[in-house]
Point group: C2
Chain length 144, copies 2
DNA sequence: CAATACATTAGAATCGTTCTAATTACCGAC
DNA sequence: GTCGGTAATTAGAACGATTCTAATGTATTG
């Protein structure tokens, strides 16, 4: 479980509670971004895409702040960072353990339903190391 | 199976046969790079690292050619590209199906022995898509 | 040993991201 | 409410990896 606070169902002081809970000041920008990110369903966004979306929604926020905020959200556990493409990071509002389809042709990430089990047993980590995370990415492409 | 030609054990016209086999002209640069890449054991290199290694070995080759060559080698199946770090690509001389430990602290990739089985069954791909590859990355970090 | 197609190159350009230094906003104390 | 201190935001420069461009060099074939 995670994101138990997940910004209820619109209208929304949920973003405020969400920020309070993780000890980040509820600034105009962070409130707006939390509002965009933590709606009803989970999302996978890039920094540029979120910036475009914010600007489009009339939120005045710089790209620098988008990056600052995304990284802060990752640090406090509100987001996960997913690496599937060299040269671009995706941020994932689903912070539970799960894996991904990556649609290479269109650059879209999609959660793999947890029910379709993927992992068998894990190998032991190299001596003196501990496992930080296990990422499974199934790359898919347009039909044939 | 793959890389069945794997540049024998030094001295080496192996690189030449290797290029002939995939239909790439055996230029000075490509021969040298194939020599560096396809030795006795498998390697995971970045473009910059391979360039440094080549220059260090007295091979005169530009960074542009390193990129050209790596991508050509990927296209003909001599190399795989592995994405574990936003903003940097790794190239893998092991083109058999396998998975990786990624040592986040030092930026090193390590093959997971195929014996330590990792995958259970795979989920069905989204409708109208086919699975291009399945990447498993186990991120590990320095001890405690 | 042409002629031709292919390959290499230096350097500029691009892209995503991070940094810098200046401005602005939040917030607790009064 | 006002103030002061600290934290946050910002524009724009800087950065690192990669790609592109257009000029030069080299393998191949006849
Ligand atoms: Mn990052
Ligand atoms: Mn590439
Ligand atoms: Zn996800
Ligand atoms: Zn490998």
């Amino acid at each position: 479980m995670a994101n138990t606070q997940g910004a209820s169902t619109r209208g929304d002081g949920g973003a405020l509670r969400c920020l309070k809970q993780v000890g980040l000041r509820p600034t105009r920008q962070r409130l707006a971004l939390a509002g965009l990110l933590f709606g009803d369903s989970h999302r996978h966004v890039t920094a540029e895409a979120l910036h475009a979306e914010a600007v489009d929604a009339g939120v005045r926020v710089s790209l620098a702040t988008i990056y600052n905020t995304l990284h802060q959200f990752v640090k406090v556990g509100l987001l996960d960072e997913v690496v599937v493409d060299p040269g671009k990071s995706y941020f994932d509002t689903n912070t539970t353990e799960h894996h991904h389809f990556y649609h290479e042709d269109i650059g879209r990430l999609e959660d793999i339903p947890g029910s379709s089990v993927v992992l068998g047993r894990l190998p032991d980590p190299p001596a003196g190391k501990r496992i930080a995370s296990v990422d499974v990415v199934i790359r898919v492409t347009g039909d044939r």
